[in-house]
Amino acid sequence: MTHIAKPKFHHPALPVNALGLTRRDYEGVVSTLCAGCGHDSVTAAIIEACFELDLPAHRVAKVSGIGCSSKTTNYFLNRAHGFNSVHGRMPSVATGANLANRDLVYIGVSGDGDTASIGLGQFCHAIRRRLNMVYICENNGTYGLTKGQFSATNDKESKSRKGVDNLYQPIDLCTMAIELGAGFVARSFSGDKRQLVPLIKAAIRYRGFAFIDVISPCVTFNNHAASTKSYDWVREHNAALDSLDIVPARETIEADYAEGTSLDVDLHDGSRIRLHKLAADYDPTDRAAVLPELARRKARGEIPTGLLAIDLDQQEDLHDLIRSHPAPLNSLTQAELCPGSEALAKINAAHR
């Protein structure tokens, strides 16, 4: 890790966003991860996405569990709310926070251990609940903090740094999320911010559970020639299915694309995703078709990336399902919170 603080000086011509902030204003403390860790690039992508969306940091809540990945919420948006929770229990904390204050943007950062092993159940049920959050899994196929054991997402053919075979089948978090009905499912690569930043922006804008599986190489334990989660391997096998532009509300789309190569997705808040198809035969809105197609591509040795699946019809979240109060709890007054003695008498009468 670096011993000095990142100097406060920034480039004098650094662009500012609608809030008058530079990208640097969205940073956190200096990372203590290994030099070259993919997670630091994901952090940089989150910073870039929040900057470009003009998000005020104090309207964001960062939540995480345990692991290298989960440390990273400290490295971005140091003016945001944050909760670094128990191993694998980030979805529960996020659910509680979201129920209390539905107006914040929830960004959860987890890893393959935190999500696919100890937190697998939590992950599945957060999807089922349609919790309105961005769930980023920084996926490196290894337990970096405990010195490089295989994680549950490590491909079977991917050996350890010392050549030990992996015995078990991997969990594919994306296909699992699609299966469980997640509204927004994407995969990306920490080394490709041009793909990753728009995906994070779209995920923040999407209402419902938005999952991004980011392959984020572990330089220390899983970036060797026999790994399928190394920088080189992912670059060689990366097959991007589409690319995104995010169009803010009220802005019309000027560019003209050939018929059938792009798809406009209207989001709940009035903004819009324009999806450019890179694979002509892949339609992320056709949930029945994407799973077999992803399986075919995986069998061919590809790593399909981009927006893998999106649910256009049901952009609704937990609050819609349980019909909760439309305002955050901290904004409710006593008049709204206390129904009065008449209502109490009614309830009591129902139990007689």
Partner: protein
């Protein structure tokens, strides 16, 4: 773009903005680090090797390094390089044991040096250790040239001047002081192997306005006035003084007048204040002493009463700028301004004068009266006769004279050895990793956020009483340490090794100034716009790698790099490394005097 050739000695040299801007290429960041380590004598020696007069320059340099300082591109003010140099000179202690000492074994060659200013002294210092006999001619009784005659002692104390001038003279210069050279032809007849002319630009310009002749007794040419004060010939002045001119000489004149007892001193400048030639810090010091500077005042006539000067009349002007940048001063039509005064000091510029050089000896002059001098070899059209300092191309400042002196000494040495003057020695460079541990460097890479530390001044009551009280007190060791920490260590270079890079983006993400990019290559103009922050400072280079595995190239905009080393700390493979670049400008003596080792 083609991959950057970092083996070109000038590539990394240019990144060290201060050293690049310094005519003598003084290794600034290195001596600032030495000051921070309290190694003042080492810092002094490093300076002395390259600029000969650290104590003088630390007080009077025109500081081309400071506007160039990278710090001023990320923050308000540059590092106070000049005043740190003074710290090295003030606190060095006794360095006599480290200086080359004569007598040196003679090589039998005799060189005449005409004038005893910084250019001639530099030539002498460079040539003496090689065995040359240096004969220095000076019309004044003491050496130093304009450093002695035109810089008042409250800016440059005489003992500092004497110390640095004598340091050269004591190496064995043969002096002919108080002896003006009146004929170059006659001098050439004395059998010198080479002649160096460093006679400066001694003649102050005059202004022929109505009343000039009648009021001559109370109108003084600024440079002559300063010289008379320096040699003690003038020790008083009228009650009210008007100074005409906006350069550094004008600033020196008005402050001198104040110390000679003038009650009111007014500086008048023809042009707008922003166009004044004086250095901003000289203007600042002048105003600190309560002297008003009136800009846009063009002198029209000297007003006399009963044959005696009583005032100067001025016309108010305004400036208009043509599209090509040319300035025109136009009268505003306002009523004239009359400033009553008893004495006028005229400081409107200096020019060269060579009445002692015969025009038929093969030494050619241009139509402005300046000698024709080769810009690289400093040789005139008369082989064996060299020029340097203000004498060569008109008024500049001390550090340029030193740089000229070094080059002329190289030429004289080549000339006397019968080698072609184009056969010039190359600079010496080195590039060494500063890595000490995983994230430890041999330099302090933590960028200090402190603002420029003001230099303490003597209080005005004391300062204005005497010409001998130095106006600036200089930094003490604590202030020097604070200021030294502001240096960005631009000589510790970010060196990129293509074959080690795995394109993880770690350096891109951590760089505090968004200097590093991985992108498709293109021609320079396109590439400059393609970067994370477009590289629009065209004076600063792009550092471009050969193609990487993905076909992209690494492009680093050198412009505002803080040299904090975070790219190298964040690099998992050591593709980035922080390496100290040293650049030793070539001197005639470079093979004889060992380079400073820090």
């Amino acid at each position: 773009m083609q991959p950057t050739d970092v083996t070109d000695p000038e590539y990394f040299h240019k990144v060290v903005d201060c050293q690049w801007a310094c005519p003598a290429h003084t290794p600034v960041p290195e001596y600032i680090r030495l000051i921070a380590q309290r190694r003042y004598a080492d810092a002094f020696m490093l300076n002395w090797e390259s600029n000969v007069f650290p104590g003088i320059l630390g007080r009077t340099c025109d500081r081309p390094c400071e506007p160039a300082c990278r710090r001023s591109r990320v923050e308000e003010k540059p590092v106070a390089i000049c005043r740190l140099k003074r710290v090295a000179a003030d606190y060095k202690g006794d360095v006599s044991a480290r200086l080359p000492k004569g007598p040196f074994p003679r090589n039998g060659k005799r060189v005449a040096l005409i004038g005893s200013g910084p250019a001639s002294l530099t030539v002498a210092r460079d040539l003496l250790p090689l065995g040359y006999t240096c004969v220095m001619f000076e019309k004044d009784p003491k050496a130093g040239g304009l450093m002695r005659t035109n810089i008042p002692s409250f800016r440059l104390p005489t003992d500092v001047l004497d110390e640095e001038v004598n340091r050269v003279l004591d190496m064995g210069v043969e002096t002919r002081f108080g002896e003006a050279v009146t004929s170059l032809r006659a001098l050439l007849g004395q059998g010198f192997d080479a002649v160096f002319i460093g006679t400066g630009a001694p003649r102050g310009k005059d202004l022929n306005l109505p009343g000039r002749e009648e009021a001559a007794a109370n109108i003084h040419i600024g440079t002559d006035f300063l010289k008379s004060v320096a040699f003690g010939h003038i020790d008083r002045i009228g009650r009210r003084v008007v100074v005409i001119g906006g350069g550094n000489t004008a600033m020196d004149c008005c402050r001198t007048a104040l110390r000679l007892g003038a009650e009111s001193v007014t500086v008048t400048v023809r042009s707008p204040r922003a166009d004044m030639k004086a250095s901003p810090w000289e203007i600042e010091d002048t105003e600190r002493e309560g002297i008003p500077i009136l800009d846009n005042h063009a002198p029209k006539r000297f007003v006399l009463e009963n044959g005696r000067l009583v005032a100067v009349e001025f016309e108010k002007m305004r400036a208009e700028y043509e599209p090509n940048g040319r300035r025109r001063l136009i009268p505003t039509g306002e009523p004239p301004v009359v400033i009553p005064c008893d004495d006028v000091l005229m400081a409107i510029g200096q020019e060269n004068a060579f009445p002692w050089i015969e025009r038929d000896i093969g030494l050619e002059f241009d139509d402005k009266g300046l000698p024709i001098v080769d810009a690289r070899t400093y040789q005139s059209t008369l082989p064996g006769v060299f020029f340097g300092g203000d004498a060569a191309w008109g008024p500049e400042n001390i550090i340029w004279a030193v740089a000229h002196g070094h080059q002329a000494a190289i030429s004289i040495d080549l000339w006397c050895r019968g080698e072609p003057l184009s056969n010039r020695p190359r600079p010496t460079t080195s590039l060494v990793s500063q890595k000490m541990g995983i994230h430890e460097w041999s330099y302090d890479n933590d960028v200090a956020l402190t603002r420029r530390v003001p230099v303490p001044h003597a209080d005005l009551d004391t300062a204005l009483k005497s010409l001998k009280v130095e106006a600036e007190l200089g930094y003490d060791d604590q202030l020097a340490l604070k200021e030294a920490a502001r240096c960005l260590n631009c000589d510790v270079q970010t060196v990129f090794t293509r074959d080690l890079c795995i394109e993880c983006d770690g350096c891109v993400d951590i760089c505090p100034v968004d200097a590093i990019n991985f992108t498709q290559n293109a021609e320079e103009t396109v590439l400059r716009e393609r970067l994370r922050v477009p590289a629009r400072n065209l004076e600063q280079d792009l550092y471009v790698s050969p193609p990487l595995k993905t076909g992209r190239v690494m492009v680093k905009d050198e412009d505002v790099c803080l040299h904090c080393g975070l790219c190298a700390e964040r690099c998992p493979t050591g593709a980035w490394d922080m390496q100290k670049f040293t650049y030793g400008a070539a001197h005639a003596t470079c093979s004889k005097v060992p380079a400073h080792v820090a």
